[in-house]
Symmetry: C2
Subunit: 113 residues, 2 copies
Amino acid sequence: MKYHPSSEQLRLDNVMVALGHPIRLAVIRVLADGAEHSCGSILSGISKSTLTHHWRVLRDAGVIFQRPSGRENLLKLRTKDLEARFPGLMASVLLALAQDSFTIALTNDYLSE
Amino acid sequence: MKYHPSSEQLRLDNVMVALGHPIRLAVIRVLADGAEHSCGSILSGISKSTLTHHWRVLRDAGVIFQRPSGRENLLKLRTKDLEARFPGLMASVLLALAQDSFTIALTNDYLSE
């Protein structure tokens, strides 16, 4: 199991940087449903090494939980841990990703749907 | 007057990156009162060129408004514009800066008070 910071270890600056990229915001948009998603199913048209980098940034900041399952990894948003430390933060990001047309357009390019 | 993006031009990724640094979070903590602050009065122990860089990142992302006043610049949080585009986002950041002890400690080093 790869390193995951505990809820107490989450740093607001790291969380912000992790969310400060269109590709990673696109990931959050997919994970917004709260379910686990296999890492190969989330984004389209992005190389494996680039994806690995983005999973790592999100995981190290405590934004996602990643666990191996067979030959894949399953990813999930750490909504509860983030809410415990930074109330309202993830809700506001998910709201922008769902309702702000510019933010939606920013992330559309990376999504297969 | 330096460049400021309009409310419609704000990008969530840029705002997140702008907030993803302890020094810039310390600035937000000071500007949280909604008032204008002179740029020389906000942080302590940081060189002028470093400060200029951080003002620029915050201004270009649309997080602060900067206007010249005599020989100084006055800085102010763009709370209303941010709230219009990303409801709840700045409120959650200000809440963390006011109540989350780890986040408070992260920014304390840069504040003179």
